[in-house]
């Protein structure tokens, strides 16, 4: 697996641009500031506007439970909450990437 880490303080637009440029299988975002709803909405809108529908997006952070349904409604594939093990996240990424590649070849 190759990981492209963009570093801190990326705008949603920058994340989308990097993802397209690097032809990634999965996009993962970590947000701890509490701005997850606004920023993820912008990220998903930007992604769709660029015609990308097949890259699964997942989110990790301290997301209050009442916000989760709204986030999932945006088309985000998975939300990882505090306490998730590294293995669980790695397994998710592995499966999601594999799944995306399979679909591509169908």
């Amino acid at each position: 697996m190759e990981v492209i880490y963009t570093g801190v303080r990326q705008t949603p637009e920058q994340v989308v641009e990097t993802a397209i440029q690097e032809d990634v299988d999965v996009i993962g975002v970590s947000i701890l500031s509490g701005a997850h709803i606004t920023l993820m909405k912008r990220l998903m809108e930007n992604l769709r506007a660029k015609g990308v529908h097949d890259i699964p997006v997942f989110l990790g952070g301290t997301i209050p439970l009442p916000d989760i349904s709204e986030i999932e409604g945006m088309g985000i594939d998975r939300v990882f909450l505090p306490g998730t093990s590294l293995q669980e996240i790695v397994k998710y990424v592995y499966d999601a990437a594999l799944n995306k590649r399979k679909k591509k070849h169908e």
Binding site: Y5, S33, T38, P82, G83
Partner: protein
């Protein structure tokens, strides 16, 4: 402190005890762990005795409270005279929201203020900057101009209370706003008291809210210190912070060593400017984390005081006694709190706060139970404040100075932590000091590795967190029962943006432009920028406008990959 004969007898007795009493005990109960370690990975024995502290010379290593090397506290009577300052880190939403919260906390017995700014403010962006969208007012209060600061302090007497401002690259701007607001209240420079965090090195190591590259970042920070020393006699212009380093996953030893090494770098920088060490040393302050491994934290605080006093005396030849004091603020460990079973966080914070008090802190913030999710609700903040008041007024722990001194374990651990911290400091000295070490990414890598190690230990159940990897409950009911602060982020952002729009229309834009031009020239000439920033702030130039001028002159920092 012990006679040799008694120690030999004890040695003999321990040998026998290990072969008989301990063996018998182990036959009945195996120990819970193969190896016991502190949170920082220091291996600990089953019991400590005078043998473990036989080499500790009381006068050399401990002394009396209020005397060198200050291991037992910087004041002779500590909390018997004055309790620590109960200083709750607070701020959210609009300046009006925060004004209300500060008044609420003062009404409930808070004795010092501490402002939390939102992320745009922390990195010097105005509320109407496109990059600020969605972040305005979320993790602290939104401040874009002097106008906002005036609202925060509306009805709060700035001559009778001190404020800590957690602000780093924009420290010159926020300090200027504070000073200008106090001036408008009629408070003279001699009576303006408080702290600017203003610690750039730890931003590169851990906190990552940097703006400028390391060298200009340090230069600007030193400007603030130099100006404050000469103009604000009661101001602590820097709070050399281990807190963020620890929260990023460092061990207690790394937190201590890197913070002290940062302090050494700043002292050298100020001396290079031609200042005398005794002119500024008494205004340097520190900020540490109080984590959950109780004794380790107490030992860390004691070791910190001893190390700093020695460095100031022996390395920098400070002569005034106050120059040797390590004065510090403590915050309980945000990173030890859990989203799972959040009411348990009250207990964690209590234990951590107790460690800070037993360690001799000068001021304390206690985290609220709801902080894994959001900035605290009024309810959460009040319980956290009451926690300090219970420790202060009910438990009796504040009635004796340094009550744990003389505990074989505490003294051994204080020594051990100090020794390990010196090893780090030696390594950093060999690299040419902390500024150079940071440029090489050395402390960044050390912290990242420690953080990864700890996470692995938790997942392998070598370290336990209740509700996370032991006594786990599946349900979410408890989480839903925590009352969270309700903020209408979009509305706050809309109002802050609107306020800025009006400000830009109503202010004297020629005066603003002229102040910004003068600032730009002064920065290019490498002058101390503080007087120019203060003038710009008074003309109602915004935070973002001032920071943009400085970014043009000094450049911005893009972090290179650590690995």
């Amino acid at each position: 402190m012990f006679n040799e004969e008694a120690l030999e007898e004890l040695e003999d007795k321990i040998r026998k005890w290990e072969k008989s009493t301990v063996v018998k005990s182990l036959e009945r109960f195996r120990e819970r762990m193969e190896k016991f370690t502190t949170l920082s990975g220091i291996t600990i024995k089953n019991v400590y005795t005078p043998l473990d502290v036989r080499d500790i010379d009381y006068f050399d290593k401990l002394g009396l409270p209020g005397e060198y090397p200050f291991t037992r506290g910087i004041h002779a009577t500590m909390y018997r005279g004055r309790l620590w300052t109960m200083r709750m880190f607070s701020g959210y939403g609009s300046p009006e929201d925060t004004n209300k919260r500060l008044k609420y906390l003062i009404a409930h017995g808070e004795t010092g203020l501490s402002l939390a700014f939102d992320y745009p403010t922390l990195i010097g962006l105005d509320a109407d900057d496109p990059q600020a969208c969605g972040e305005v007012g979320v993790c602290g209060v939104s401040v874009s101009s002097l106008k906002d600061m005036e609202i925060i302090y509306n009805g709060i007497d700035m001559s009778s209370i001190t404020t800590n401002m957690t602000i780093n690259p924009p420290a010159p701007v926020l300090l200027s706003m504070y000073v200008a607001t106090a001036e408008k209240q009629g408070v003279t420079y001699e009576r303006i008291g408080g702290t600017t965090q203003n610690d750039p090195l730890k931003e590169f190591i851990a906190q990552k809210s940097y703006v400028f590259p390391p060298e200009p970042a340090v230069k600007i920070s030193m400007d603030v210190i130099e100006w404050s020393i000469k103009n604000l006699p009661l101001w602590n212009p820097i709070s050399i912070s281990g807190y963020h380093i620890r929260e990023a996953g460092a061990t207690a030893v790394q937190e201590l060593a890197f913070t002290i090494a940062d302090g050494i770098e700043y002292v050298r920088q100020l001396i290079l400017r031609g200042l005398n060490v005794d002119e500024f040393a008494h205004r340097l302050s520190f900020f540490f984390d109080a984590h959950i491994n109780f004794f380790e934290e107490i030992a860390k605080f004691r070791a910190a005081r001893r190390m700093w006093a020695k460095i100031m005396k022996e390395w920098f030849n400070a002569e005034k006694e106050r120059s040797l004091w390590l004065r510090f603020h403590t915050q309980t460990a945000g990173v030890s709190l859990t989203a799972q079973q959040p009411f348990n966080n009250i207990v964690r914070t209590t234990i951590e706060a107790l460690a800070a008090v037993l360690g001799g802190t000068q001021s304390l913030h206690t985290n609220s139970l709801d902080e894994p999710f959001r900035v605290p609700s009024e309810f959460g903040a009040k319980i956290a404040l009451r926690t300090q008041q219970i420790i202060a007024y009910e438990t009796g722990v504040a009635d004796v100075v340094d009550p744990l001194a003389g505990s074989y374990y505490i003294e051994w651990l204080t020594d051990e932590i100090e020794e390990q911290a010196w090893k780090y400091i030696d390594r950093i000295e060999k690299m040419g000091g902390m500024l150079e070490a940071v440029k090489k990414g050395y402390p960044q890598r050390e912290v990242t590795e420690a953080s990864y190690r700890f996470q692995k230990e938790v997942e392998e159940r070598k370290k336990f967190i209740v509700g996370v990897n032991i006594y786990v409950e599946g349900g979410e009911e408890e989480i839903r029962n925590v009352p969270l602060l309700d903020i209408n982020q979009e509305e706050i952002e809309r109002r802050q943006v609107e306020r800025l729009r009006k400000l830009r229309m109503e202010r004297n834009n020629e005066a603003v432009q002229s102040a910004l031009n003068k600032l730009s020239k002064a920065a290019s000439r490498n002058e101390n920028i503080m007087p120019y920033v203060l003038d710009a702030v008074k003309s109602y130039a915004t935070l973002g406008e001032i920071m943009n001028v400085l970014k043009e002159v000094y450049g911005i920092w893009v972090e290179p990959p650590i690995y």
